[in-house]
Amino acid sequence: MRHRIANRLVWAISAIVVVAAALVALLQSRAG
């Protein structure tokens, strides 16, 4: 149970990290 929750958390965190990186890259690419 706890391991399955941990697996889901890892997927959720991975998604957050990748989306956040893409968002920051988009904002930065339009800077200046």
């Binding site: 149970m1 706890r2 941990a6 958390l9 890892v10 990290v17 893409a22 920051v24 930065q28």
Partner: protein, 441 residues
């Protein structure tokens, strides 16, 4: 789980996300360089968030009790193993995106030709690759556990330092004093956590040594190791928890191994561990002479009935050396006069290797305990259960009221993977099944 543990569990998770993303978010604050193509900025963003995620591995593995308490050590290590793949992905994505999009960037990755700025980056990625591959292949390569652990720690520090130098030398996005300070803090905290684990904790252990009182043979190639504190009051643990033991080495040498307590948590004059001969260190346990000074770091782990006081029935399911924490739970119940009904389902190779079986038989007279043995290779005339713990077998021994039941499961990984879903299919709520996977490498 205690309500305070639950709150702390959510808080640590939020902090994890904040600290993982902080280097990335800070890219957008203060003085910012001119924007470049999206794909190039994405490569940089992956690199930055990769550093944030990497730094947090040092927190996950620093054995900080407050961090581990809400989840249990095995879950934190499991998380560490899984997030390692995310970290590797981010660290590899950074150069690979550049190499695919910009042909000129490919020559930079030649470690013999590039500038030191990129060399540090290439080195960091190589260290990271070695870190992950050596961990995945540890068993296939038959690497000795202690050697692997030391190498793992050294590679992690080298990877972190190399990537920090790489980002620092490039300088883009970290030009302001505030950003400089943040980067220094990430590097310093990572190194400080390694120092905490490898210098401060060993120093604490050195000040609180233990002495071997006895090493008793049990059935099933299990040894009971009894230790007494020397010059201090000993430690307090919950039945089911474990500690790291260092014997024949200085606590600074990182020659430590995790074992479950097997004695009652109510007894403080001596603590006992039940250790099965399985690997390089455990095969030498029986040679530990009485009087030898050893070191104990603990307790750790959330696998304990003390964390859940609402059970009206305990079901303990053990396979092989998984009996160790169960002995601690049962012996503690005797000392506390606890009359909660307990069923112990205990799987062993054969009847002769059923460790503690005489004591378990005797405990049935002192506790509200039913012991059920299942043996893979039964002796002639055996009338009990045989083979692995199956769904049908569980159905025979589970109490009718499953809402008030708490199940504690400890044994080989294959057994845990088979029994946990079987219990759920029999109506045991997933949140009431607790298990310990001893995989802290």
């Amino acid at each position: 789980m205690k309500p305070s543990d639950k709150r702390m569990g959510v808080l640590w998770l939020l902090l994890y996300v904040v600290f993982a993303l902080a280097p990335l978010i800070l890219m957008l604050f203060g003085e910012r360089p001119m924007g470049r193509e999206f794909i190039r900025e994405l490569s940089v963003a992956f690199g930055f968030v990769g550093i944030g995620v990497m730094a947090l591995h040092f927190v996950l593995t620093a054995r900080i009790t407050a961090v581990k308490a809400p989840y249990g050590s095995d879950v934190v290590y499991h998380f560490h193993h899984r997030v390692a793949f995310l970290t590797l992905f981010l660290w590899l994505a950074h150069p690979i995106i550049l190499a695919i999009r910009y042909p000129w960037a490919r020559s930079l990755f030649n470690i013999f030709q590039g500038s030191w700025t990129t060399r540090w980056g290439v080195l960091a990625v190589l260290f990271m690759l070695a870190l992950v591959l050596l961990s995945i292949l540890r068993r296939q390569l038959k690497t000795e556990y202690v050697a692997w652990r030391i190498g793992h720690g050294v590679l992690a520090v080298l990877a972190m330092l190399a990537v920090m130098v790489h980002a620092y030398l490039i300088g883009r996005y970290i030009g302001t004093p505030l950003k400089h300070a943040l980067w220094l803090a990430y590097g310093a905290v990572s190194v400080a956590l390694v120092a905490y684990l490898r210098v401060f904790k060993p120093w604490q252990m050195l000040r609180r040594p233990y002495r071997v009182v006895a090493v008793r043979p049990e059935r099933g190639a299990i040894w009971s190791l009894a230790l007494e504190p020397v010059g201090h009051a000993g430690l307090r643990f919950e039945p089911g928890q474990f500690a790291w033991i260092t014997a024949r080495h200085s606590p600074f040498a990182a020659h430590e191994h995790p074992f479950s307590f097997s004695s009652s948590s109510e007894r403080h004059d001596t603590v006992e561990f039940a250790i099965k001969e399985l690997g390089d260190f455990t095969a030498t346990i029986h040679d530990l002479p009485a009087g030898l000074q050893v070191y104990v770091d603990g307790p750790y782990g959330a696998f304990s009935p003390d964390r859940h006081s609402d059970a009206n029935h305990l079901m303990l399911i053990a396979g092989g050396s998984g009996i160790a924490p169960m002995m601690s739970i049962l012996r503690t119940m005797v000392d506390r006069g606890d009359t909660t009904p307990v069923t112990l389902l205990y799987g062993t190779w054969d009847w002769e290797s059923a460790g503690f079986r005489e004591e378990l038989a005797a405990l049935q007279n002192r506790l509200n305990l039913r012991v059920v043995h299942t043996v893979e290779h039964p002796p002639e005339g055996w009338q009990g259960e045989t083979g692995y713990v199956t769904r049908d077998m569980l159905a025979r021994y589970l109490p009718g009221d499953r809402a008030g039941l708490r199940v504690y499961l400890c044994g080989p990984i294959g057994m845990l993977d088979a029994v946990e879903p079987a219990l759920e299919s029999l109506g045991v709520p997933a949140a009431r099944i607790h298990l310990e996977r001893f995989d802290f490498a």
